[in-house]
Symmetry: C2
Subunit: 118 residues, 2 copies
DNA sequence: CATTGCAGTATCCTTTTAGTAACTGGTTAC
DNA sequence: GTAACCAGTTACTAAAAGGATACTGCAATG
Protein backbone atom coordinates (compact mmCIF):
# COMPACT_ATOMS: atom_id res chain seq x y z
CA UNK A 1 0.00 0.00 0.00
CA UNK A 2 2.04 2.88 -1.28
CA UNK A 3 1.24 6.45 -0.34
CA UNK A 4 -2.50 6.43 -0.15
CA UNK A 5 -4.65 9.46 0.46
CA UNK A 6 -7.50 9.45 2.95
CA UNK A 7 -10.14 8.03 0.63
CA UNK A 8 -7.92 5.43 -1.01
CA UNK A 9 -6.81 4.34 2.38
CA UNK A 10 -10.33 3.82 3.64
CA UNK A 11 -11.43 1.79 0.63
CA UNK A 12 -8.21 -0.22 0.73
CA UNK A 13 -8.96 -0.96 4.36
CA UNK A 14 -12.40 -2.18 3.41
CA UNK A 15 -11.08 -4.48 0.72
CA UNK A 16 -8.52 -5.92 3.10
CA UNK A 17 -11.17 -6.41 5.72
CA UNK A 18 -13.48 -8.16 3.26
CA UNK A 19 -10.75 -10.63 2.41
CA UNK A 20 -9.91 -11.06 6.04
CA UNK A 21 -13.46 -11.87 7.05
CA UNK A 22 -13.89 -14.40 4.30
CA UNK A 23 -11.02 -16.54 5.52
CA UNK A 24 -11.46 -15.82 9.22
CA UNK A 25 -13.11 -18.19 11.63
CA UNK A 26 -12.01 -21.40 13.14
CA UNK A 27 -12.83 -23.67 10.19
CA UNK A 28 -12.64 -21.77 6.90
CA UNK A 29 -8.98 -22.42 6.26
CA UNK A 30 -9.17 -25.99 7.47
CA UNK A 31 -12.06 -26.71 5.14
CA UNK A 32 -10.38 -25.16 2.13
CA UNK A 33 -7.17 -27.04 2.83
CA UNK A 34 -9.08 -30.28 3.23
CA UNK A 35 -10.65 -29.90 -0.19
CA UNK A 36 -7.33 -28.84 -1.61
CA UNK A 37 -5.55 -31.89 -0.23
CA UNK A 38 -8.18 -34.58 -0.46
CA UNK A 39 -10.62 -33.32 -3.04
CA UNK A 40 -14.37 -33.23 -2.78
CA UNK A 41 -15.97 -34.31 0.44
CA UNK A 42 -19.43 -35.21 1.67
CA UNK A 43 -21.07 -33.56 4.62
CA UNK A 44 -20.82 -36.53 6.95
CA UNK A 45 -17.26 -37.19 5.89
CA UNK A 46 -16.30 -33.71 6.99
CA UNK A 47 -18.13 -34.05 10.28
CA UNK A 48 -16.23 -37.23 11.05
CA UNK A 49 -12.82 -36.34 9.65
CA UNK A 50 -12.62 -32.90 11.19
CA UNK A 51 -14.66 -33.44 14.32
CA UNK A 52 -16.75 -30.43 13.56
CA UNK A 53 -20.33 -30.17 14.66
CA UNK A 54 -22.87 -30.35 11.83
CA UNK A 55 -24.37 -27.08 12.91
CA UNK A 56 -21.11 -25.19 12.53
CA UNK A 57 -20.08 -27.08 9.42
CA UNK A 58 -23.33 -26.20 7.75
CA UNK A 59 -22.86 -22.52 8.50
CA UNK A 60 -19.24 -22.42 7.35
CA UNK A 61 -20.00 -24.23 4.11
CA UNK A 62 -22.86 -21.87 3.36
CA UNK A 63 -20.58 -18.89 3.82
CA UNK A 64 -17.90 -20.39 1.63
CA UNK A 65 -20.52 -21.19 -0.99
CA UNK A 66 -21.91 -17.67 -0.87
CA UNK A 67 -18.43 -16.43 -1.64
CA UNK A 68 -18.13 -18.90 -4.50
CA UNK A 69 -15.20 -20.61 -2.92
CA UNK A 70 -16.87 -24.00 -2.73
CA UNK A 71 -19.58 -25.75 -4.68
CA UNK A 72 -22.39 -27.83 -3.28
CA UNK A 73 -23.55 -30.74 -5.43
CA UNK A 74 -26.44 -33.01 -4.60
CA UNK A 75 -26.00 -36.59 -5.80
CA UNK A 76 -28.87 -38.97 -6.49
CA UNK A 77 -27.39 -41.85 -4.55
CA UNK A 78 -29.22 -44.47 -2.44
CA UNK A 79 -29.10 -42.41 0.70
CA UNK A 80 -28.82 -38.97 -0.84
CA UNK A 81 -25.36 -37.43 -0.58
CA UNK A 82 -24.05 -33.93 -1.02
CA UNK A 83 -20.58 -33.20 -2.26
CA UNK A 84 -18.61 -30.09 -1.48
CA UNK A 85 -15.49 -29.03 -3.30
CA UNK A 86 -13.43 -25.93 -3.96
CA UNK A 87 -14.07 -23.95 -7.10
CA UNK A 88 -11.48 -22.88 -9.66
CA UNK A 89 -12.12 -19.37 -8.43
CA UNK A 90 -11.00 -20.43 -4.97
CA UNK A 91 -7.54 -20.98 -6.37
CA UNK A 92 -7.22 -17.24 -6.88
CA UNK A 93 -7.05 -17.04 -3.11
CA UNK A 94 -3.56 -18.42 -3.55
CA UNK A 95 -2.37 -14.91 -4.29
CA UNK A 96 -3.39 -14.06 -0.73
CA UNK A 97 -2.53 -17.28 1.07
CA UNK A 98 0.94 -17.60 -0.40
CA UNK A 99 2.13 -14.22 0.94
CA UNK A 100 0.43 -14.95 4.24
CA UNK A 101 2.31 -18.20 4.48
CA UNK A 102 5.60 -16.55 3.65
CA UNK A 103 5.10 -13.69 6.06
CA UNK A 104 3.98 -16.08 8.78
CA UNK A 105 7.19 -18.04 8.41
CA UNK A 106 9.30 -14.92 8.35
CA UNK A 107 7.48 -13.65 11.40
CA UNK A 108 8.12 -16.83 13.31
CA UNK A 109 11.82 -16.17 12.81
CA UNK A 110 11.44 -12.54 13.77
CA UNK A 111 9.67 -13.38 17.01
CA UNK A 112 10.96 -16.72 18.21
CA UNK A 113 14.27 -16.79 16.40
CA UNK A 114 15.49 -13.64 18.06
CA UNK A 115 14.08 -14.33 21.49
CA UNK A 116 17.36 -15.76 22.78
CA UNK A 117 19.92 -13.85 20.79
CA UNK A 118 18.93 -10.44 22.17
CA UNK B 1 0.62 -22.91 -2.58
CA UNK B 2 1.72 -25.28 -5.25
CA UNK B 3 1.50 -29.03 -4.82
CA UNK B 4 2.18 -29.50 -1.18
CA UNK B 5 2.48 -32.83 0.55
CA UNK B 6 0.76 -33.60 3.82
CA UNK B 7 3.43 -32.15 6.07
CA UNK B 8 4.16 -29.09 4.01
CA UNK B 9 0.49 -28.42 3.84
CA UNK B 10 0.05 -28.55 7.57
CA UNK B 11 2.96 -26.22 8.31
CA UNK B 12 1.82 -23.88 5.55
CA UNK B 13 -1.58 -23.82 7.17
CA UNK B 14 -0.01 -22.92 10.48
CA UNK B 15 1.96 -20.05 9.00
CA UNK B 16 -1.13 -18.71 7.27
CA UNK B 17 -3.09 -19.00 10.48
CA UNK B 18 -0.40 -17.17 12.45
CA UNK B 19 -0.53 -14.27 10.03
CA UNK B 20 -4.30 -14.33 10.08
CA UNK B 21 -4.53 -14.15 13.84
CA UNK B 22 -2.10 -11.27 14.07
CA UNK B 23 -4.23 -9.02 11.90
CA UNK B 24 -7.59 -10.38 12.99
CA UNK B 25 -9.85 -8.67 15.45
CA UNK B 26 -11.96 -5.61 15.23
CA UNK B 27 -9.22 -3.06 15.80
CA UNK B 28 -5.84 -4.35 14.60
CA UNK B 29 -6.16 -3.13 11.03
CA UNK B 30 -7.76 0.13 12.07
CA UNK B 31 -4.93 0.84 14.48
CA UNK B 32 -2.22 0.04 11.97
CA UNK B 33 -3.88 2.18 9.33
CA UNK B 34 -4.25 5.03 11.80
CA UNK B 35 -0.54 5.01 12.53
CA UNK B 36 0.16 4.64 8.84
CA UNK B 37 -1.97 7.63 7.92
CA UNK B 38 -1.48 9.95 10.86
CA UNK B 39 1.74 8.84 12.45
CA UNK B 40 2.35 8.19 16.11
CA UNK B 41 -0.52 8.52 18.51
CA UNK B 42 -1.00 8.74 22.24
CA UNK B 43 -3.24 6.43 24.18
CA UNK B 44 -5.94 8.98 24.93
CA UNK B 45 -5.85 10.26 21.38
CA UNK B 46 -6.67 6.81 20.11
CA UNK B 47 -9.44 6.36 22.64
CA UNK B 48 -11.05 9.59 21.49
CA UNK B 49 -10.38 9.39 17.76
CA UNK B 50 -11.46 5.82 17.33
CA UNK B 51 -14.07 5.56 20.05
CA UNK B 52 -12.44 2.46 21.41
CA UNK B 53 -12.64 1.55 25.05
CA UNK B 54 -9.34 1.85 26.93
CA UNK B 55 -9.61 -1.72 28.06
CA UNK B 56 -9.74 -3.06 24.54
CA UNK B 57 -7.23 -0.57 23.20
CA UNK B 58 -4.75 -1.57 25.83
CA UNK B 59 -5.09 -5.21 24.92
CA UNK B 60 -4.82 -4.65 21.18
CA UNK B 61 -1.76 -2.45 21.52
CA UNK B 62 -0.07 -5.00 23.73
CA UNK B 63 -0.65 -7.70 21.14
CA UNK B 64 0.63 -5.52 18.34
CA UNK B 65 3.64 -4.65 20.43
CA UNK B 66 4.35 -8.30 21.22
CA UNK B 67 4.42 -8.93 17.50
CA UNK B 68 6.80 -6.02 17.02
CA UNK B 69 4.35 -4.21 14.79
CA UNK B 70 4.12 -1.16 17.01
CA UNK B 71 6.42 0.52 19.49
CA UNK B 72 5.45 1.97 22.83
CA UNK B 73 7.42 5.01 23.95
CA UNK B 74 7.02 6.72 27.29
CA UNK B 75 7.59 10.48 27.21
CA UNK B 76 8.61 12.55 30.23
CA UNK B 77 5.99 15.24 29.67
CA UNK B 78 4.04 17.20 32.33
CA UNK B 79 1.29 14.65 32.55
CA UNK B 80 3.19 11.60 31.39
CA UNK B 81 2.30 10.50 27.87
CA UNK B 82 2.87 7.33 25.91
CA UNK B 83 3.32 7.27 22.19
CA UNK B 84 2.53 4.37 19.96
CA UNK B 85 3.68 4.02 16.38
CA UNK B 86 4.24 1.39 13.75
CA UNK B 87 7.68 -0.14 13.39
CA UNK B 88 9.68 -0.41 10.17
CA UNK B 89 9.10 -4.15 10.46
CA UNK B 90 5.38 -3.52 10.30
CA UNK B 91 5.85 -2.31 6.75
CA UNK B 92 6.75 -5.85 5.72
CA UNK B 93 3.10 -6.62 6.32
CA UNK B 94 2.52 -4.74 3.09
CA UNK B 95 3.40 -7.91 1.23
CA UNK B 96 0.33 -9.46 2.82
CA UNK B 97 -2.02 -6.49 2.89
CA UNK B 98 -1.46 -5.49 -0.71
CA UNK B 99 -2.60 -8.86 -2.13
CA UNK B 100 -5.46 -8.90 0.35
CA UNK B 101 -6.58 -5.51 -0.87
CA UNK B 102 -6.35 -6.58 -4.50
CA UNK B 103 -8.18 -9.82 -3.96
CA UNK B 104 -10.83 -8.06 -1.92
CA UNK B 105 -11.50 -5.68 -4.77
CA UNK B 106 -11.54 -8.47 -7.33
CA UNK B 107 -13.87 -10.43 -5.12
CA UNK B 108 -16.28 -7.55 -4.80
CA UNK B 109 -16.58 -7.63 -8.58
CA UNK B 110 -16.95 -11.39 -8.60
CA UNK B 111 -19.77 -11.31 -6.08
CA UNK B 112 -21.64 -8.07 -6.51
CA UNK B 113 -20.67 -7.28 -10.07
CA UNK B 114 -22.15 -10.48 -11.41
CA UNK B 115 -25.21 -10.56 -9.19
CA UNK B 116 -27.37 -8.89 -11.85
CA UNK B 117 -25.74 -10.03 -15.05
CA UNK B 118 -26.32 -13.75 -14.43
C1' DC C 1 -5.72 20.39 48.91
C1' DA C 2 -9.36 19.86 45.27
C1' DT C 3 -9.27 19.55 40.08
C1' DT C 4 -7.56 18.19 35.75
C1' DG C 5 -5.07 15.41 32.54
C1' DC C 6 -2.50 11.37 31.62
C1' DA C 7 -2.03 5.81 31.04
C1' DG C 8 -3.85 2.05 32.11
C1' DT C 9 -6.55 -1.59 35.11
C1' DA C 10 -10.70 -3.80 37.35
C1' DT C 11 -15.36 -5.04 37.35
C1' DC C 12 -19.24 -6.03 35.22
C1' DC C 13 -22.15 -6.68 31.08
C1' DT C 14 -23.46 -7.70 26.06
C1' DT C 15 -22.64 -9.75 21.74
C1' DT C 16 -20.62 -12.99 18.86
C1' DT C 17 -18.77 -17.41 17.92
C1' DA C 18 -18.45 -22.19 18.60
C1' DG C 19 -20.11 -26.55 20.50
C1' DT C 20 -23.72 -30.40 22.20
C1' DA C 21 -27.27 -33.20 21.50
C1' DA C 22 -31.54 -34.29 20.02
C1' DC C 23 -34.43 -34.10 16.20
C1' DT C 24 -36.79 -33.75 11.02
C1' DG C 25 -37.47 -35.70 6.58
C1' DG C 26 -36.16 -38.60 3.18
C1' DT C 27 -34.38 -43.41 1.41
C1' DT C 28 -32.93 -47.99 1.42
C1' DA C 29 -32.35 -52.61 3.64
C1' DC C 30 -33.95 -56.05 6.60
C1' DG D 1 -42.46 -51.33 10.21
C1' DT D 2 -38.21 -50.60 12.30
C1' DA D 3 -33.42 -49.91 12.02
C1' DA D 4 -29.72 -47.50 9.65
C1' DC D 5 -27.75 -43.81 6.60
C1' DC D 6 -27.86 -39.51 4.69
C1' DA D 7 -28.04 -33.91 5.07
C1' DG D 8 -29.11 -30.76 7.61
C1' DT D 9 -31.92 -27.87 11.56
C1' DT D 10 -33.44 -26.52 16.23
C1' DA D 11 -32.89 -25.29 20.81
C1' DC D 12 -29.83 -24.83 24.32
C1' DT D 13 -25.06 -24.03 26.47
C1' DA D 14 -20.31 -22.45 26.86
C1' DA D 15 -16.56 -19.74 25.73
C1' DA D 16 -14.42 -15.80 23.55
C1' DA D 17 -14.41 -11.11 22.03
C1' DG D 18 -15.74 -6.63 22.70
C1' DG D 19 -17.73 -2.69 25.40
C1' DA D 20 -19.13 0.66 29.44
C1' DT D 21 -17.73 2.73 33.43
C1' DA D 22 -15.47 3.59 37.38
C1' DC D 23 -11.36 3.43 39.38
C1' DT D 24 -5.80 3.64 40.62
C1' DG D 25 -1.51 6.17 40.64
C1' DC D 26 1.10 10.03 39.19
C1' DA D 27 2.13 15.01 38.34
C1' DA D 28 1.00 19.73 37.57
C1' DT D 29 -2.23 23.54 38.12
C1' DG D 30 -5.02 26.63 40.44
Amino acid sequence: MEHLNEKECKSAGMAVRDTLEIISGKWKLILLLTFYKKGKRRFRELVKELNISPRVLSKELQELEMNKLVTRTVRNTRPMTVEYDITPYCRTLGSVLQPMKEWGELHRQEIIGKKNSE
